[in-house]
């Protein structure tokens, strides 16, 4: 590569903050599967790379009082294989399992995936419906930000230069909860999602109290959830008619960009109903 930069791999978070505060043009390196590509293409020109991989506690999945805590440096393959990401969380491990390809999944991290915030990012819609929050650490402070506030646009988050994502936290789901992740890809081996969707149902067995969440990727700049559509589908017996209603509401709200090369806006709109129908059908065990 021609782009020149320095490289630093701190052992502690404080060392990382120190390095970041000294260099305004520093970039954090996690798995590198986006960063290295972007450096090579000239899309970004950092003067310092801060590699966090030597800070071991930044990776791994654990269960704490706060919920399921995922270190940002946890790789996709680690997510896919985690014994803690079962039940309500299984859609996240499934999304991780089909992201990129095996070698990419050995490097790509969940932190990198959400910070890169590609509109079709594999983990974004599962994390959105799971109501994940992101722990952002600065030099002397720590804050918890809901994921839907954290991601602000394609390749954009609220993260400022000196900050580091230190955890991704998934709430507990004491009630029965099930989710399903779907995507359209052009080839089966390795492709970025053309359009994707996560559906989550809390209380799928209790018609009155069931709560449906659905997030769509690539139809808007950030993962899109429609409050109105979710209301249509929640708290009552779901029928094909309701699904069609919900899909039509979503279609009236979204605005897929016409410049995407992976799928046309028409196709993405068309897939909304299909995803809703398929996701709910898989979760509820009903054919619509």
């Amino acid at each position: 590569m021609f782009s020149r930069f320095d490289y630093y791999a701190p052992q502690t978070l404080n060392d990382a903050f120190a390095a970041l505060s000294k260099n305004g043009n520093a970039r954090i390196l996690a798995g590198g599967t986006d960063l290295v590509v972007n450096i090579r293409s000239g899309k970004i020109k950092p003067s310092l790379i801060v590699d966090l991989k030597k800070i071991k506690w930044l990776s791994g999945v654990t269960k704490t009082d706060r919920g399921i805590e995922i270190g940002p440096l946890t790789t996709m393959n680690e997510l896919a294989e985690s014994s803690l990401l079962k039940g309500p969380y299984s859609l996240l491990s499934y999304a991780a399992k089909i992201m990129g390809c095996y070698e990419i999944r050995n490097r790509a991290t969940v932190g990198g995936n959400i910070i890169n915030a590609s509109p079709g990012a594999e983990t974004l819609t599962p994390l959105t419906v799971l109501h994940a929050s992101v722990e952002v650490s600065g030099n002397n402070n720590k804050k918890l930000i809901p994921l839907n506030k954290f991601v602000t646009g394609p390749n954009n988050t609220v993260l400022s230069g000196g900050e580091i994502v230190t955890k991704i936290i998934l709430p507990f789901y004491p009630q029965l909860t099930a989710g399903y992740y779907m995507r359209r890809a052009r080839v089966k081996g390795m492709d970025l999602a053309s359009v994707n969707c996560s559906v989550l149902v809390v209380n799928p067995n209790n018609i009155e109290k069931c709560q449906v969440r659905a997030a769509f990727g690539t139809v808007m700049p950030t993962p899109y959830r429609s409050q109105k559509a979710e209301e249509i589908l929640s708290g009552k017996k779901i029928t094909l008619d309701l699904i069609k209603q919900a899909a039509s509401v979503i279609n009236s709200e979204i605005n897929p960009r016409a410049t995407s090369l992976r799928a046309t806006p028409e196709y993405k709109r068309f897939m909304v109903e299909y995803f809703l129908k398929t996701g709910l059908s898989k979760i509820l065990g009903v054919t619509f």
Partner: protein
């Protein structure tokens, strides 16, 4: 920057610049040209090496990230004669132009280290991101299955 790592079983040190990829370090600094560059963006799999036991794309890793790691390249596979997978590639006609072959072999060697008897699905997952434009993959699959059969006998 100085890096120290285990390369194909031997401890190596090198003085490299921070902006070289691992692929460039392997090919240019160490002359290990068996690892190929098919795209430079992690999209084809030709540059696959095994790092700390896992197959990775060496074009997406900085050379400096290799410091302290253990790396195996295609050159290590036949150090004691052809591996079972390499032999199966020969017999099944799984090679045409050969440019993607080292990447497939490395993905395969890593797979057979993870699991002695991979299912078809596991083979598919291991090879999903490896592009081959010549063979249509059929013979490659047959080669992988042949190794599988051999190991179960």
């Amino acid at each position: 920057m100085k890096i120290k790592f285990k390369l194909n079983g031997e401890l190596k040190t090198a003085e490299i610049v921070s902006y070289m990829t691992l692929l460039e370090v392997l090919r240019d600094t160490f002359g290990l040209t068996g690892t190929k560059c098919g795209c430079g963006n992690g999209e084809c799999g030709a540059c696959t090496v095994i790092m700390n036991g896992h197959p990775v794309r060496s074009c997406l890793i900085l050379g400096v990230e290799a410091d302290g790691s253990e790396i195996f390249t295609i050159e290590s596979v036949s150090a004691n004669g052809l591996s079972d997978l390499q032999k199966a590639f020969l017999e099944e006609g799984a090679v045409q132009c050969g440019f993607c072959t080292p990447g497939f072999i490395m993905a395969g060697e890593a797979l057979f280290k993870r699991t002695q008897n991979p299912t078809d699905e596991e083979i598919k997952i291991a090879l999903g991101g490896h592009l081959c434009r010549c063979t249509g993959y059929d013979a490659i699959f047959k080669a992988f299955k042949k190794v599988k059969v051999k190991k179960t006998l």
